[in-house]
Subunit: 578 residues, 2 copies
């Protein structure tokens, strides 16, 4: 017998939601139906997961924000009311269906509200990366045409001087908080019409979120998603991790990154409890792993490395599943996670695919393999999710008379390199206001990921590299990822990144930037040259000559995006000056 | 780490699939894409679950048919090829998209093939109940306009003299079997074009299955379902039981009943192993529970009663989840199932809703209740599935100027009776070739179930009765189901059914038909009058006077449909003659 439980040991600490957050008795948890829908058609809408959770498990903890001065604890019933209030507040602010708004905040309740509440008002939400510069933020606000900004007070400097109206949250959940007043006004404006005063979007292909890519080259592009896509991606994410009403999800991945890979809705779909944290704080993560019954979280490998190497790391009492994306996990990382009872779920995707759209599906036959052999198989990006439309690895016959360029599948030999392309329900609608970029991305009827990969005989894909990260060494294509995978097996390495560096004879040669493992760093102190020799010897046993690093540099840290992806563009800038 | 396993201990017994069932190496497991699909749109199609399973877990056992003279064991790879062969064979037979075909068979591999293969050829499948008379079968074949019949040799008498072409299966899986020859011809006809020679249906709202209702009154009606509805219903069924690649599903429910409640696709979605049996045989069921690692099955309460009362019943080594639908499980049944480690999942639906569309969602607060109190809550039909569009309990303001009759929600008081209505993705497309019946069923923009229910304060529905089963006793509405629930708590009763019987003074009064529990039957031998008095006294302590049975009859068995539903219409005929 499974029960929905409160799922964590965090206590309420005397927290009381504002009076306007309390729903009326006999609350109707359904949106106003658009007229003329066929009896057998209901538009897919991820907002309805929340309404359903509030109907079935009203008293279950939905959003918990415990690690701040005034912790907040929202049940599904209360949270749904707050989202409704936000929906009405947006309508009151004059926003019309299809209008854009922005939110700038870390993982806090306002952010969780915004991702749902925008759908309630049928406005399109842009969640902006908090690590951007004011200039970058200004560009996104302008490009998106945002008419309102919800902003956490810590990030007010990012919109200094803006003429766009904004609402500040002090992240208190208290009556005095401007954000709370905004919600209260929404409730008052509703006239207690409740959910039935907000009309359901009749078109499931209507826009949902506007997610700007980090834009390592050029201006960021606005990825426009749909209700249907979000619904189907969220559902697949929940299913792949077997999330259910007994699950507790810890928000380590920023919700502003590709709308949290649709996990805001995967969680409401599965009736989980979500715990939010303002920052990626490893001791705090371990506090929750060990004491809050966390069962699921998402993170890039670099975040996972931080987690397993934290001094507090030990086997938690419950099973934890970790979704890993952004890069393939190394054998060392997989081994470290499994040793403390964390099951890695390797998924792959891009902002344009709502976050993950493929998974590495473990096979029974792998259980007899060594960790190293098994890890190589687990590093494959795998097969598409059930709700995705399919994936191919192709080269483009650019010379074809078809102006789109015909797509030709590479052979399933695990060797021939091509580009990963996909189509279907987990592909964005378009780049917002950028027909040219959209058409380019959709050439040949598929979305081109820009990731270079091979197709394995089992129909799974393995990424070799981003097209721009490939190293052309002596005329050979060397995958920086493959080199990193092999170098990471050196026992003294914590993290490594490899980029191309100009070479007189070979054109390009790999250069490795290495962070040593804290336990072994002292051994090589003052002997960086010795370490470089040691690592090169290690590489020679595992890689063809053209793929061996010509240069090795030990560094204290690597440049990363807010989501933990290593910024190779910055490393290349360093290299260019050498 | 979870792995897909072979999931059962049944051995291959040297079984070899026919050569034409073996897919070619480097088999492309994708259908031909229709032209002009948007890049971000993929039509939902439940057939693709099978293709995906064959891609990701080709060697996993998909369909196992062990309890016949020549047992069959199909891996996902082989099964998908057989389904492809069937698709081509149907095309070769001249069938065009939208044409209808029929299948008449128990739960055998041909039946499993047909439910998938019809979708491959884009024809609409009518799976006909094997318990019908030849006249009824003839009516369905004619009404559906079936152009081909796939038939198990045991049921040939049902189509004697038909002019429709048919293909016989001897359920052997061997080369000599006519059905196998049919598949082989399909493979030859394909010219090895594989899946890419079969075009995907571009319209997800295209028809999928044609399921005839048992038709207790009048002619059976043909419930036409869609690809989208089947996809979304199957997905919800798999999710509610937490089915996954480690699951083994035992086919107890006939696949011809409402297309097996969409479990043919719930299983392929979740990568399970399915075990098929030609009949509902309790010792065989227990053999599989105890030795084949069965984790899931579906059945009406009467089948569940047979299962828990079988002499072989004992706690299986693995967790089993039982989907129960057709009627609410009694406290006694819930207790009996839980005692042997079977978790009941109470779901509710009709053929018109693809089988289940609601579930009773257990609440944490129930764990402290007694079995009897908890069972009352577990008997509620609950809340709609996530992919359903919603459910209401309404009365119809027939006098309203709106010709459809306005729908007015009953208060959420757990007392006021109304009709369960629903709409959305898990509602049929229409009654085939019966606009009048369709319009009547869809009055007011919702599908009217004909089930009378109350809405509880928590938004869950509890069925009181089918509208035609209600007993009007002294002007009061007595629910035959509620009476049965209370009578079933008598410890000597195995099964009970209650219908109205004419009464001079009160108009109608309840009459109970009782099967005694085998352990207690001897006690009442020759003392039926004493038992009737005992049961009436039991009833008086639990029910209002008008709901107490006026008559009690001990019977050796109750008339049932093939799916285990008690045929109250037949009991009423018996009563009419008294």
């Amino acid at each position: 017998m499974t029960f929905a439980t409160r799922s964590n040991s965090t206590t309420f600490n005397g927290f009381e939601p504002t009076p306007e957050s309390i729903p009326p008795p006999y609350n109707e948890l359904r949106l106003k139906l658009p007229s003329n829908l066929p009896v057998n058609y209901h538009p897919l809408n991820p907002l309805e997961f929340l309404l359903r959770a509030a109907l079935i498990y009203p008293n279950k903890l939905a959003v918990v924000h415990p690690d701040v001065k005034t912790p907040a604890f929202y049940s599904y019933s209360v949270w749904a009311q707050r989202v409704q209030n936000l929906g009405y507040a947006l309508v009151k602010a004059g926003l019309k269906p299809g209008d854009r708004i922005a939110v700038i905040a870390p993982n806090v309740p306002m952010m969780a509200d915004a991702l749902q509440g925008a759908l309630a008002a049928r406005v399109v939400l842009t969640a902006i990366n908090t690590r951007l510069t004011p200039q970058e933020v200004a560009y996104i606000l302008e490009h998106s045409g945002s008419k309102l900004v919800l902003i956490d007070s810590e990030y007010l400097h990012l919109i200094e001087g803006t003429r766009i109206p904004f609402v500040v949250s002090n992240d208190t959940g208290n009556n005095g908080d401007p954000y709370e007043r905004f919600l209260s006004e929404g409730r008052q404006f509703s006239g207690e019409k409740g959910w039935s005063g907000l009309e359901m979007e009749a078109d499931e292909n209507a826009p949902a979120m506007l997610c700007y890519t980090s834009g390592t080259t050029g201006r960021p592009k606005g990825v426009l998603t749909t209700l249907r896509g979000t619904y189907l991606a969220a559902l697949a994410n929940a299913f792949e991790g077997q999330m259910n009403a007994n699950s507790t999800y810890l928000w380590i991945l920023p919700m502003f990154h590709a709308a949290g890979w649709t996990f805001p809705w995967a969680n409401t779909f599965a009736f989980t409890t979500q715990i939010t944290m303002r920052s990626v704080d490893y001791p705090l993560i371990w506090k929750h792993f060990l004491h809050s019954r966390v069962t699921h979280y998402c993170g890039a490998p670099t975040v996972q490395i931080g987690i397993v190497n934290d001094p507090a790391a030990k086997h938690p009492p419950q099973q934890i599943r970790a979704y890993i994306a952004g890069a393939a996990p190394t054998a060392h990382l997989i081994g470290s996670l499994e040793k403390i009872g964390i099951e890695p779920i390797h998924v792959y995707g891009l902002t344009e695919t709502y976050g993950p759209f493929t998974r590495n599906y473990p096979q029974e036959s792998w259980s007899s393999l060594s960790l190293e052999e098994r890890s190589k198989l687990m590093a494959r990006q795998g097969h598409p999710f059930v709700t995705a439309g399919g994936m191919r690895v192709v080269y483009r016959a650019e010379e074809s008379p078809d102006p789109n360029g015909e797509l030709v599948d590479v052979p399933k030999d695990g060797k021939t390199m091509g580009e990963i392309v996909t189509r279907g329900n987990i592909v964005m609608k378009e780049y917002f206001n950028d027909i040219e970029a959209t058409n380019k991305a959709f050439r040949g009827g598929y979305f081109g990921s820009g990731d270079l990969a091979v197709m394995n005989p089992d129909g799974s894909a393995s990424i070799l590299d981003r097209s721009k990260d490939i190293i052309i060494s002596g005329g050979e294509n060397a995958s920086s990822l493959a080199i990193e995978q092999e170098l990471a097996s050196h026992p003294h390495i914590l993290e490594v990144s490899v980029v191309a560096r100009e070479h007189k004879k070979w054109g390009e040669r790999p250069m490795a930037f290495v962070i040593l493992h804290p336990q072994h760093a002292s051994k090589w102190k003052g002997r960086h040259g010795d370490f470089a020799r040691d690592l090169k010897a290690h590489a020679k046993r595992r890689l063809p000559g053209f793929a061996c690093p010509e240069w090795v540099e030990i560094v204290p840290e690597l440049p990363k995006t807010s989501t933990g992806k290593i910024l190779k563009a910055q490393l290349r800038k360093v290299v260019a000056k050498l």
